[in-house]
Amino acid sequence: MKPFLSIENLTQRFPDGAGGELTVFEEATFGVEKGEFVVILGHSGCGKSTIMNILAGLAEPTSGGVIMDGQEVKGPSLDRGVVFQNYSLLPWLSTLKNVSFGVAARHPEWTKAEVEAHSTKFLAMVGLEGDVIRRKPSQLSGGMRQRVSIARAFANHPKLLLLDEPFGALDALTRGTIQDELLKIWGQMEQTVFMITHDIDEAILLADRILLMTNGPQARVAESVEITIPRPRNRTEIVEHPNYYAIRNHLVQFLGKRSKELSGKPSAPGQANTPATVRIDKAQTTEDPEDTQPALRAVNS
């Protein structure tokens, strides 16, 4: 059976400005299960945002397609909520209005009071209450704006939530708070999340699975690393889990070395580029050594 979200033979090429073509990625093929939290890691320029824009329906791939819930993704939809990297709040609307206009779009049959109540609830969920929600985005701090943007996306109950480096511009402290809030809301709503980040620790804390991309051009989604650390996770406790450093080392190795080594190989047309599954689980090594060995070898290489 197909996974909830199925990315099939996705290829994206752009004109390179010199008359030729730039292949960002080719034949990328992977799936995301319902309720899964998937994080994609890769160097700048490898094509993460390009993939996300295609998933959102904001951009069209050169070839290939995306199927969500048995339906092909064609154009943007309320079923796919996007948290843009730069928040993308509408500066002329108040904080509350920024959320409620989305809610009203989702539920045109609701009364104004219902829309406001629902919006207020989700703003409260990300810690924005009272006077603050009447202010304009320009009067909020960066972290607050980011939270508004998250509230706007969550308030619409999208089947798939797309987050493009949502915490990129935040300081470490605010980042931590909002990560916790995101996990809390995700835990309550059972949403499928696809998130881009540059931060390895953030990825391990949040993800069920991390997709690793090689460097561009001709990038590939090379590996799919399972995060074998039980939830609920806590920033300070996960570092003590035996799998934490093994996974972290693997990711650092990949981004530091292998992402470059594996990059730039053109693939045969029509042949799907599927990521290799990597499962690093120290607790399981003794029970099922064959399954984990390739992954461990990757760590040691």
Partner: protein, 277 residues
């Protein structure tokens, strides 16, 4: 010691400048008459003629008092109160202006949203825009026939360009991110236009509207001098023909005041639609 705020000091200086200016003006008038040595310009324009002396401010103030205490009297076609004359001008300006807005803003939207429309219409705009609105007057009088409607047409044609260009510019410059927000929320084309593009482009559009109303007010005076009949422009010209320079100076001041009020209205509107990113 007394300390004044910046605004108080500025106001004080303004009043001082006004008083000094008026006194200098008042003092200069008799001297000018006494000299009797006129420049070529004064001879040509008739400023040297005994009846047509430039009035001192005291006379202008007396005139203003007289006119403003009964602004709406109507004693025949050549003798109407200043209020009636200004009323005619404002009516023409606003009619032409709003007709222009009705065309310019939707058309500007279209041009701003469609690169094809922009490229197709740009050459026409570039040629039509630099034409002095008064150059249209003979053609308008010939085609439309009616002088009243021709004056309105001239206002229409001169106010359309800043609004059209600014609307197109504002709409084309709306951030892609905001459009994407509308798209991911499945807002329809009309909803996107009114809830995202219009407020996003509003500061630029209103700036265009403000420039337009300023130009329209400049042009109406000239247009009314040409078409005659009524209006503040006609009034100025008529008083000049009567060699009543006191009324001319007074109406010049009134033109300034009304122009300032029109501009202030749009300034207010501008402040309402401006947002901080």
């Amino acid at each position: 010691m007394l300390t004044l705020s910046l605004n108080q000091r500025a106001a004080l200086l303004s009043v001082l400048l006004l008083v000094v200016g008026l006194l200098a003006w008042e003092a200069a008038i008799p001297a000018q008459k006494a000299v009797g040595e006129l420049t070529e310009y004064e001879i040509l324009t008739g400023a040297g003629a005994p009846k047509a002396g430039v009035p001192p401010p005291s006379q202008v103030i007396a005139k203003a008092w007289e006119q403003l205490s009964d602004p709406f009297y109507d004693a025949g076609p050549n003798d109407k109160g200043i209020g009636i004359q200004i009323g005619y001008s404002i009516y023409r300006v606003l009619t032409g202006y709003f007709l222009a807005a009705l065309v310019a803003i939707p058309l500007g939207f279209l041009i701003g949203m469609s690169p094809v429309a922009y490229k197709a219409l740009n050459p026409f705009i570039q040629v039509l825009r630099p034409i002095s609105p008064l150059a249209w007057m003979p053609l308008a009088l010939f085609i439309i026939g009616d002088s009243e409607a021709s004056a309105i047409f001239v206002i229409f044609i001169c106010s359309i360009w800043p609004m059209l260009i600014n609307t197109a510019f504002g709409v084309a410059g709306v951030r892609e991110d905001w459009i994407n927000v509308a798209r991911t929320h499945e807002l329809g084309a009309l909803k996107t236009a009114f809830t995202v593009i219009l407020p996003a482009a509003a500061p630029t559009i209103v700036t265009g509207m403000r420039i337009s109303i300023g130009i329209a007010w400049l042009v109406i005076v000239a247009a009314e001098m040409l078409v005659g009949g009524t209006g503040i422009g006609y009034y100025v010209w008529n008083e000049w023909n009567n060699l009543d320079l006191t009324s001319v100076v007074f109406s010049i001041l009134m033109i300034g005041v009304v122009g300032m009020l029109l501009d202030a209205m749009f300034g207010l509107l501008q402040r309402r639609v401006t947002y901080v990113e």
